[in-house]
């Protein structure tokens, strides 16, 4: 008995060590990005396993070149989250709680939209945007970027809204609460976790967007940071410390959210299969 307990303990310790090694191996490229970002500037990539001294040249260059782009990414991402929530929350509520004709069809369409190749949408939007004067505009980017997140958010929040007990909504209606009130004061607060998860992913989807940034902006006036990195990479001489410093800055939302909102991120990863 005691020996089997000990064997189990040995095994779980061994598994933990293996798990840590696996993580170190898989996240090594991310560590390397941080390591290279604090090297002295230039096209040299050679570096020790650990930085011997911290150079901030890369960050200086990144901030000089990319701070406007980072702000653009931030604003577009926040606006895209707002647009996504405004459209997705009521739709999710309707799909979860009302009996509407064609509901199955709507759900099917939402699932299919997530499978349409982005280049198809970009190709068509470019000419429409050109006609409407939406190229190189914040509004144009926000509207297009929301296509990454709206169907995903609707399906995710709908699952959360389905968990809202019918009895609670019934009781509210009996007390005289209207359709909008029971939606606002009961369903939305109860679906809070799903809404938070959907918001975080909407933010990350837009923050990561590259294709719409690449195709729907044509001037330097409005460029998200993903496009800034792409431009860096296309230069004849790559200044690696600047590229890596910008990459670190562009990775911050993902890293921070993974650390502080782990519960929601994990729920989104397993709850809404998309990306």
């Amino acid at each position: 008995m005691i020996s089997s307990l000990r064997a189990r303990k040995v095994r779980s310790t061994r598994d933990s060590v293996l798990g840590v090694l696996l993580l170190v191996l898989l996240l090594f490229p991310v560590y390397w990005m941080v390591n290279l970002s604090v090297q002295s500037s230039g096209s040299n990539l050679a570096s020790g396993l650990f930085p011997t001294e911290i150079h901030l040249d890369g960050y200086r260059a990144a901030i000089a070149d990319q701070s406007a782009n980072l702000v653009t990414s931030l604003v577009v991402s926040i606006l895209s989250v707002i647009l996504t929530l405004v459209i997705a929350i009521p739709a999710a509520y309707a799909l979860a709680q009302f009996r509407l004709p064609g509901l199955n069809l709507i759900l099917l369409v939402l699932a299919v939209t997530q499978m349409i190749p982005g280049i198809v949408i970009a190709n068509s939007l470019y000419s429409s945007y050109n006609d409407l004067g939406l190229l190189n505009t914040m509004l144009g980017l926000v509207l297009a970027d929301a296509s990454h997140s709206i169907p995903f958010a609707i399906l995710l929040i709908r699952t959360a809204m389905q968990a809202v007990p019918v009895a609670v909504l019934e009781a509210a209606r009996l007390d005289g609460a209207g359709l909008f009130r029971s939606f606002r004061s009961i369903a939305v607060p109860l679906a809070r976790n799903g809404i938070i998860t959907a918001s975080l992913f909407s933010f990350l989807f837009t923050w990561s967007d590259f294709l719409f940034a690449l195709t729907l902006t044509t001037t330097d006036d409005l460029r998200p940071v993903t496009l800034g990195i792409y431009t860096y990479l296309g230069a004849d001489q790559t200044d690696w410390s600047a590229v890596m410093a910008t990459s670190v800055l562009a990775s911050l939302p993902a890293i921070v959210l993974l650390l502080v909102a782990q519960r929601y991120i994990a729920a989104g990863a397993s709850g809404g299969a998309v990306k």
Partner: protein, 320 residues
């Protein structure tokens, strides 16, 4: 917890309607209108940003649509001329092959490694929850960031991979990971496997959670080896999840474009050109929007086949 959002089957178990306790036809119909108002913005968005672009892209595939069209407003219909042009382009069929090699290679790598890691994490050991969450990081990073950091790792002269391989005495001269037409596609696949592993782990781990613990206990009582347990218990019960995750990954890999543009821009010598990247170059570099539309319409047809398979599989996996 279900692992994948599969709306089609969930509606089967939808709860009964509860609108209109108090009858009165007028009240019900007014309420109906309000109900539609909840979903109207979403429907409008779907029409404008999904349905319309797809239809427009199909139409553009039959038009001579170039930059001139933007000024003149004219894009004459040319029948199948765009398709004749792209099919007779010597780079078209290689890009079709590349699309499939890239997709199959990525899926095989992501899935086998993802499954192995998911099975490993099923054992639940100290730190397993936190390690499993941190593992999601490569999937959450902007893909363009991942391409930047892998370009540094795969640099021929001073990239970390070649430095390590040289240090270990495995190679004498640096491998041109992204610079050689014969290796570049493999390198792109390796990076895409790295990006896709976390997603596979997350979904497969979710599927593993649904397998009853008693089955494993029974297998242990029977003295089954881990290998035998995997093939007799885990694999058969995980099959529905496996089908869904593979089809989803196929659909997302077929259309992926950031990773190739970031790493190689389709080069060297078109060796990593796929249908999405070819379409991008036709539309946004050569400004031949009609050709770009035709190329991406081929992609739509391929994606559509897999989308149908996915919808069928996800419905079956939940109703089983």
């Amino acid at each position: 917890m279900t692992s994948v959002t599969t709306p089609t089957a969930q509606t089967v178990r939808r709860r009964p309607a509860r609108e209109g306790r108090a009858p009165g036809r007028r009240r019900v119909s007014r309420e109906r209108v309000y109900q539609w108002l909840f979903i109207a913005p979403a429907l409008l968005y779907v029409v404008l940003f999904f349905a319309y672009p797809v239809v427009k892209n199909v139409v553009m595939g039959f038009q001579d649509y170039t930059t001139a069209s933007f000024y003149t407003g004219e894009a004459p219909f040319v029948g199948f001329a765009n398709y004749v042009t792209i099919f007779s382009d010597p780079t078209f069929w290689p890009s079709v092959t590349n699309t499939f090699v890239f997709t199959i290679g990525s899926i095989v790598g992501q899935f086998t490694l993802g499954l192995a890691i998911a099975v490993f994490f099923r054992r639940r050991f100290p730190l397993s929850t936190i390690l499993r969450s941190l593992l999601l990081l490569p999937w959450l990073l902007p893909v363009i960031v991942s391409t930047a950091l892998w370009r540094s790792l795969m640099d021929q002269d001073s990239g970390a991979i070649n430095v390590v391989l040289k240090g270990l005495g495995i190679i004498d001269t640096g491998i041109p990971w992204l610079a050689s037409p014969s290796i570049a596609l493999l390198s792109v696949i390796i990076v895409n496997v790295w990006v896709g592993i976390p997603f596979n782990v997350a979904i497969l781990y979710g599927g593993l959670q649904d397998i009853p613990e008693e089955l494993y206990e029974a297998a242990a009582v029977d003295g089954a080896s881990p290998w035998r347990t995997f093939w007799s218990v885990t694999w058969p019960l995980l099959r529905p999840t496996v089908t869904v995750v593979i089809l989803l990954c196929v659909i997302y890999t077929l259309r992926s474009i950031d990773i190739i543009l970031g790493l190689t821009r389709g080069g060297p010598a078109n060796s990593t050109q796929t249908l999405p990247t070819a379409s991008y170059f036709q539309s946004f570099q050569q400004f031949q929007f009609g050709l770009g539309a035709a190329t991406s319409n081929v992609l739509i047809i391929i994606a559509f086949v897999f989308a149908l398979l996915y919808l069928r599989a996800s419905r079956r996996s939940l109703t089983d």
